[in-house]
């Protein structure tokens, strides 16, 4: 169609049936080829993609808890069931599917088949839970978080809790490793969108390792300070990660009481506070929940 200034626009003739057919066939052919290419690629790459994600999480959990290669990691998933005003908490552990009232009273507990317990993909677990828990509307059963248990032989040696907290712009997702006495062994930031050079510094050892070695009581009363980070403490913080948690704590134990608070990142008090509040909340919730779910592990 040509459009010359000063002249009326010439109407384009409607496409003939033949032309329309050719257009339809051409588009269909291109779409078919596209579907074949993408379908084939998906088939070959999807297992590798899921495997990568799983391996990355597992490596991070093993590193945080300092597990031996023989140790096993068991995921515990938490769901919320809402039917009107009635809310139930559901835990899927390696052994049991426990349906509980909010105060911890057991409604039902089922044994978990082995193939579900060891499944790597979250979908398999979620699908199985959906078949077991009766709800009037699938929307009423929602996934609500997870944690991991590190098991050496048959004994749980530590936990890694996944937590989220609202950062400067959007959610910060983190892993927090805890021993059986609820002392923090380490923190790892999994996902965040803080500003580079400012809030993004939360992933650095000199910030995230400030939580390591703190007991439940320490964390309960911890706050964020804008004082400068002492050089000596910073050097100590940089070492955790190169050396495992236990020897690190032995070496630097006396420095913890001297630095009772979290030193904020310069120019990023919001991000620093967000992580601190997130850790506090996640640890408090985890302790409450462990009182109940501990019986089903």
């Amino acid at each position: 169609m040509t459009c010359i200034p000063g002249k009326p626009v010439v109407d384009q003739a409607p496409p003939s049936a033949r032309e329309m057919m050719i257009i339809a066939i051409g588009l269909t052919a291109v779409c078919l080829v596209a579907a074949m290419i993408l379908g084939g690629l998906y088939f070959f790459t999807q297992p590798a993609k899921e495997h990568n994600l799983h391996m990355r999480e597992e490596a991070m959990i093993r590193g945080l808890l300092g597990l031996t290669p023989q140790a096993r990691i068991q995921e515990v998933r938490r769901y919320l069931k809402r039917e009107g005003k009635d809310v139930q908490v559901i835990y899927l552990t390696g052994k049991k599917l426990a349906q509980l009232e909010l105060d911890g009273k057991e409604v039902a507990a089922l044994d978990v088949p082995n193939d579900v317990a060891i499944a790597g993909a979250a979908e398999i677990k979620d699908e199985w839970v959906k078949t077991q828990v009766k709800v009037s509307n699938p929307e009423h059963l929602k996934y609500a978080g997870r944690f991991f248990v590190g098991i050496e032989g048959t004994q749980p040696v530590g936990y890694v809790v996944e937590g989220v907290t609202l950062g400067f712009k959007t959610w910060i997702r983190f892993f927090m490793a805890i021993d059986s006495a609820f002392t923090i062994q380490g923190v790892e930031i999994i996902e965040h969108e803080e500003d580079p050079g400012l809030g993004a510094e939360i992933v650095q050892r000199y910030f995230k390792n400030q939580f390591a070695g703190r007991s439940f009581e320490d964390i309960e009363k911890i706050s964020v300070t804008k004082d400068p980070l002492p050089k000596e403490w910073q050097l100590a913080l940089e070492q955790l990660g190169d050396m495992p948690f236990r020897p690190w704590l032995e070496k630097h134990r006396e420095m913890l009481p001297k630095n009772p608070n979290i030193y904020a990142i310069t120019g990023s008090t919001i991000s620093s506070t967000a992580v601190t509040v997130g850790i506090k909340t996640a640890l408090g919730n985890f302790r409450k929940r462990m009182n109940i779910v501990g019986n089903y592990l």
Binding site: L27, A34, I37, T45, Q46, A48, K49, P196, G197
Partner: protein, 214 residues
């Protein structure tokens, strides 16, 4: 439209993408990702390579299908072609280059909407055969890659005092350039440099980029 024009020499096609019609600094296309990812050289380099591959594959496949599709539906078909290669890149990166994907995963999906890719298909692939399209795509992709690396190096060095994540300066000279606003300043400065080089060469380029499209 079916007969091919004589393609310009390979060197012209390559240099056009790198300098005369550099997607970022001459045509000012796809500035949004250029600002978003260039906080570090490594990110810029990785996204640059992804764009390069998608540009070459899209230009070539656009040239291949131009005879069998009706020109009236070329835009949806081009969009579809770009989407195929972007999805393919996305899946391959996620499966086999997990570390890289973690850094640029978010931006790889956005390549589908990069103006430079569909503009090369419309302006070049529609008129030329597959081999010149390969060179044109390579030139434009390289131009984009070089642009991202230049901006990334400038911003990482001044904003974080490092290059490729290795600290080279003991301090951060100018934190501003690594923030989003600094991205625009950086692109503007390099754009000015391109214009200055052009003036030194006798002002041969058409104003505001664009111009001859082969």
């Amino acid at each position: 439209m079916s007969e091919h024009r004589t393609p310009p020499p390979v060197s012209t096609m390559l240099m056009r993408g790198l300098f005369e019609e550099n997607p970022i600094f001459r045509l000012a296309l796809s500035l949004c990702p250029a600002v978003a990812v260039t906080t570090a050289v490594k990110n810029g380099l990785m996204l640059g390579v992804a764009v390069l591959v998608v540009q070459v594959l899209s230009s070539m496949s656009g040239s291949l299908v131009k005879h069998i599709i009706n020109p009236k539906i070329r835009i949806p078909v081009f969009t579809l072609l770009i989407a195929i290669w972007v999805s393919a890149m996305d899946m391959i990166l996620a499966a086999y280059f997990a570390d890289v994907y973690q850094q640029v995963g978010l931006y790889v999906k956005l390549i589908v909407a990069f103006a430079i890719i569909i503009s090369r298909m419309e302006l070049f692939s529609m008129k030329h055969s597959v081999v010149p399209c390969f060179w044109d795509g390579l030139g434009m992709g390289l131009g984009f890659l070089v642009g991202l690396v230049l901006a990334g190096a400038f911003r990482e060095l001044l904003g974080s005092g490092s290059i490729f994540g290795i600290a080279v300066l003991p301090f951060k000279p100018l934190l501003l350039v690594v923030l989003p606003a600094g991205g625009f300043f950086t692109i503007g400065l390099i754009m000015a440099l391109f214009n200055w080089v052009d003036i030194k060469r006798g002002h041969k380029l058409p104003a505001g980029g664009g111009g001859a499209h082969g």
